[in-house]
């Protein structure tokens, strides 16, 4: 299982803060495609994906038990 986290504007879109999905072995790029199908527009705002609290590249592969977070453009400070 992969644990997905949604924040800020993206959580407003998904309607839930987290969910578990069966996407181990898939790439971050594939995760984004999956997400776009389930939540149309989720890729539009320039969100990044973090795996286990580090920003990931599109080619990075999800492993069983990973936490993947959708990080919309940050606006701290």
């Amino acid at each position: 299982m992969i644990n997905l986290l949604y924040f800020a504007g993206i959580r407003d879109l998904t309607g839930v803060p987290e969910e578990q999905v069966l996407l181990a072995g898939r790439t971050v790029g594939e995760l984004l495609e999956w997400a776009e199908e389930k939540y149309p527009g989720i890729r539009g705002g320039g969100a990044r994906v973090a795996i286990n609290e580090e920003y990931a590249l599109e080619g990075d592969v999800l492993s069983e038990g990973d936490t993947a977070a959708f990080i919309p453009p940050v606006s701290g400070g």
């Binding site: 990044r48 599109e58 940050v74 701290g76």
Partner: protein, 146 residues
């Protein structure tokens, strides 16, 4: 030893400035970012900040390490508040000490730039007429999943 924290309590900047002080520190630069009442002609009632807390604290610590490597002899403390903030309240504090002042100014400014790029914190502005999550639409993140 170092402080890198996300907190839902009011921030006392003094605490962070004191924290980086030591006998070889000749200069301390402290930056605080505050909630402004007016932004581009629109009145803000209050702000709401949200963070991906463990990742945000990790990223802030990483920025601190970058600084301590780039400017020798510096010490860094960073805190960012989450939850609802009223006008005037401190959203973020960055304290940097250094043997000499130049490095303290530079490193402090570097810290806030890096926070605004990479630390997973989001601001929502609440006005009289509505509310909106603020994303830094003008800057491209370094790593982007398109």
């Amino acid at each position: 030893m170092s402080i890198y924290e996300i907190t839902d309590k009011p921030i006392d900047p003094h605490r962070y400035a004191d924290h980086v002080l030591h006998p070889e520190a000749g200069a301390v630069v402290t930056f605080t970012g505050h909630v402004r009442e007016w932004t581009k002609g629109i009145r803000t009632l209050y702000l709401s900040y949200e963070a991906y807390v463990p990742m945000a604290e990790k990223k802030m610590a990483q920025i601190g390490r970058e600084i301590e490597e780039k400017w020798k002899g510096t010490r860094v403390a960073i805190a960012h508040r989450i939850g609802e903030l009223d006008v005037g309240e401190v959203a973020v504090v960055i304290a940097v000490s250094s043997p000499h002042r130049k490095a303290a100014y530079e490193a402090n400014e570097y810290a806030i730039e890096r926070i605004k790029q990479d630390v997973p914190i989001w601001k929502k502005e609440i006005w009289e007429t509505g509310e909106q999550w603020i994303g830094d639409q003008n800057k491209k993140p370094e790593v982007r999943n398109p």
